[in-house]
């Protein structure tokens, strides 16, 4: 696996056109030796406080989505207006760019040092982008600093590094059980769709059935 340099990135973007990153506002500022800067989009999903004690992943999906919505608020921000991320806040956002990768290319999302020095973290765990990904990339924004950070759409807050490898047989768009494929807006966690919860729910039901059938002493 090797990392693409600036000319290889450009070749894949503009000549072979099997990598899609659009819009590219200014290649001169966005292209680095082995990276391409990505910008903040216009959509944010903030977390807010709720009276709910916690989110129970084993309840039915409609009720669970309603519970999750009680914790979140969606915003679309104008290019001339900031979304202010306060110290300790967490919000989802997404890249301005729509991104599509071929089956032989993966990417890594990294922060940029100017923002890191302010305490802005752009992803907490999910910085890897699978071959075959298509959509916008979700930022998991956290302000780890002590001062509020105004975030305007179009700011370059992240960068992508591209890695070549053998073509995957199950690129992200064709993989089974993808939860975020093709998304073009920040989407809250769909952790409850993991099949493990179905197994736990099934086992809970079985326990209840066994208890109901047990002979009463």
């Amino acid at each position: 696996m090797s990392i693409l340099n600036e000319r290889q990135i450009l070749r894949r973007l503009l000549i072979e056109r099997d990598v899609v990153v659009t819009p590219i506002v200014d290649l001169t500022t966005q292209l680095g030796p082995t990276s391409l800067d990505v910008r903040l989009g216009t959509r944010f999903q903030a977390q807010k406080r709720s009276a709910l004690p916690y989110i129970e992943p084993l309840q039915d999906e409609q009720a669970l989505r309603a519970d999750l919505a009680a914790y979140t608020q969606d915003y679309v921000v104008l290019p001339t207006e900031p979304y202010v991320l306060h110290p300790g806040d967490f919000a989802l956002a997404c890249t301005l760019e729509f991104i599509r990768l071929p089956a032989d290319l993966s990417a890594r999302l990294e922060g940029r040092s100017s923002w890191g020095r302010l305490g802005l973290q752009i992803h907490s765990t999910a910085g890897f982008i699978d071959p075959g990904f298509s959509g916008v990339i979700t930022f998991e924004l956290s302000n780890l600093g002590k001062v509020p950070i105004p975030l305007y759409p179009g700011l370059r807050i992240g960068q992508l590094c591209f890695y070549t490898g053998e073509a995957s047989a199950i690129p992200y768009r064709t993989k089974k059980l993808t939860k975020y494929a093709g998304r073009i807006a920040p989407m809250g966690s769909a952790f409850y769709l993991d099949p493990e919860y179905r197994a736990i729910r099934h086992e809970q039901q079985a326990e209840q059935d066994r208890a109901a059938d047990a002979p009463i002493n």
Binding site: L10, T22, T42, D74
Partner: protein
């Protein structure tokens, strides 16, 4: 006078309109379902109870639509006039459900709709940024709230001052917030504001038998077409199809709407190539041909001789508005292909020199590499371009997909769900396109100065 009626209009039948109307009613059903399924109001007791109530109402509309699939899309279609009447019942039912959306107690965010109107102003529309207010009723694109309120107060016998020029408040139907293609219909009230504020109608000479209101309506249509091209007629026509079927007020003016509905059912042309005068002369001839389809002729609009003379309309529009950035036929093909491939249409690709690859390989040092980049920038799309791409995509792909899904033997949900996925993807791609193009435009404009 040259008759410029397009050949396609001769082929318009009531059956064509029935299939187009089915698609429109079906899409609004899908969008209303999405509003009801929004988990944000599901999280409140009031919202979830009302949502259940309204969902029952939608189910009745869906059952009625289901019964119309075979007469409209089946191998042996039924009487199209009866099918249209049936669609009228579905549309009226849908309007009733939509009229109760406010009971959910939700505050609908404007989302990308607000960016849409701001980008219009940023592209050069001579108006203050309008404030949009979501309202329940689907045919609510009637005009400025301030002017309307003033007229009503005056009619009630109360004197009130004219609304201040900087206060431009318009309503947008809640269900339209989810479909960027309908936002082109906002151009009519916006163009109306341009015409009113600049007194353009009174500056335009027309034949003596054309009243001031008719001249104003022509001006409004001309201004709207100047800003975003024919998409504005397509959007207005798609709304009129549903509103007229369901007895809504917006169907009252059949003039341009009848023409646009029929054209929409077939194909769009990209406006702005010919002069606006020629354009409207052609449209008015077509309206005559369409009179039989709708069962009536329409007032003075249907008379091509009623048009203002010469190039007055062109001169007036061109003097007051910047030249629109309309897509070429080649651009439209490219944009439709992108949408069909599940990609947004925020920008047009760079026009690379033939030796770009060689120059890239040769750019081993920084100076030569950066000189290569000068040719590699994407061009952000105007709203007119995005809307034209979206409407062409809808007419080439959405209509045929809906007919294919609804015309078969599938159960209702098996037909509706894949079409709903298509409508949501189309809407999301167009919203992403508008957002991306707007931000790129802001940075590109600064860089070019």
């Amino acid at each position: 006078m040259q008759n410029v009626t397009s050949p396609s209009v001769e082929r318009i039948s009531i059956g064509t309109l029935a299939s187009a109307a089915f698609v429109e009613v079906c899409e609004r059903l899908i969008l209303t379902q999405s509003l009801l399924a929004d988990p944000h109001h599901q999280s409140r007791k009031q919202g979830s109870a009302v949502a259940r109530l309204l969902s029952d109402g939608l189910r009745a509309v869906a059952q009625h639509l289901d019964s119309l699939r075979r007469p409209i899309f089946g191998a042996e279609p039924g009487d199209p006039a009866r099918a249209l009447a049936g669609l009228g019942v579905a549309s009226a039912g849908l309007r009733q459900v939509q009229a109760h959306l406010g009971y959910l107690g939700s505050r609908w965010p404007l989302g990308t709709t607000d960016l849409f109107v701001r980008k219009l102003v940023a592209e050069g529309m001579p108006l203050p940024v309008p404030t949009l207010c979501p309202v329940d009723l689907p045919e609510a694109n009637t005009g400025e709230i301030g002017a309307e309120l003033r007229e009503r107060l005056l009619a009630a016998g109360l004197w009130t001052a004219a609304p201040p020029l900087e206060a431009l408040v318009l309503v947008v139907p809640t269900v339209d917030l989810l479909d960027p293609l309908t936002w082109a219909a906002l151009l009519f009230p916006l163009a109306d504001a341009v015409v009113r504020r600049q007194g353009l109608a009174s500056r335009l000479r027309g034949p003596s038998h054309l009243d001031e209101d008719a001249v104003r309506r022509l001006c409004v249509a001309g201004v709207a077409a100047r800003i975003v091209g024919e998409s504005t007629f397509a959007a207005r026509a798609s709304k009129a199809l549903v509103a007229r079927l369901g007895g809504g007020a917006a169907g009252a003016n059949l003039g341009l709407l009848a023409h646009a509905s029929a054209r929409y059912a077939l194909a769009l042309e990209t406006g702005g190539r010919a002069s606006l005068t020629d354009y409207f002369q052609g449209r008015l001839h077509e309206q005559r041909a369409l009179g039989s389809v709708w069962g009536r002729q329409d007032r003075e609009d249907a008379d091509p001789e009623a048009m203002p003379e010469g190039s007055v309309l062109d001169d007036f529009v061109a003097a007051g508005l910047p030249a629109p950035e309309l897509p070429t036929a080649e651009d439209v093909e490219h944009l439709v292909a992108l949408l069909a491939d599940g990609r947004p249409i925020n920008a047009l690709p760079p026009k690379l020199p033939a030796d770009f690859g060689a120059r890239l390989d040769d750019g081993a040092d920084a100076d030569r590499f950066y000189s290569v980049l000068a040719h590699a920038g994407e061009r952000p799309c105007s709203l007119a371009t995005i809307l034209a791409g979206g409407w062409h995509y809808k007419m080439r792909h959405s209509l045929s997909l809906c007919a294919a899904l609804m015309g078969g033997e599938r159960a209702w949900r098996d037909a509706l769900d894949p079409y709903a996925a298509h409508v949501h993807e189309r809407s999301a791609l167009l919203q992403q396109s508008i957002e991306g193009a707007y931000v790129q435009q802001v940075f590109t404009r600064w860089k070019d100065q």
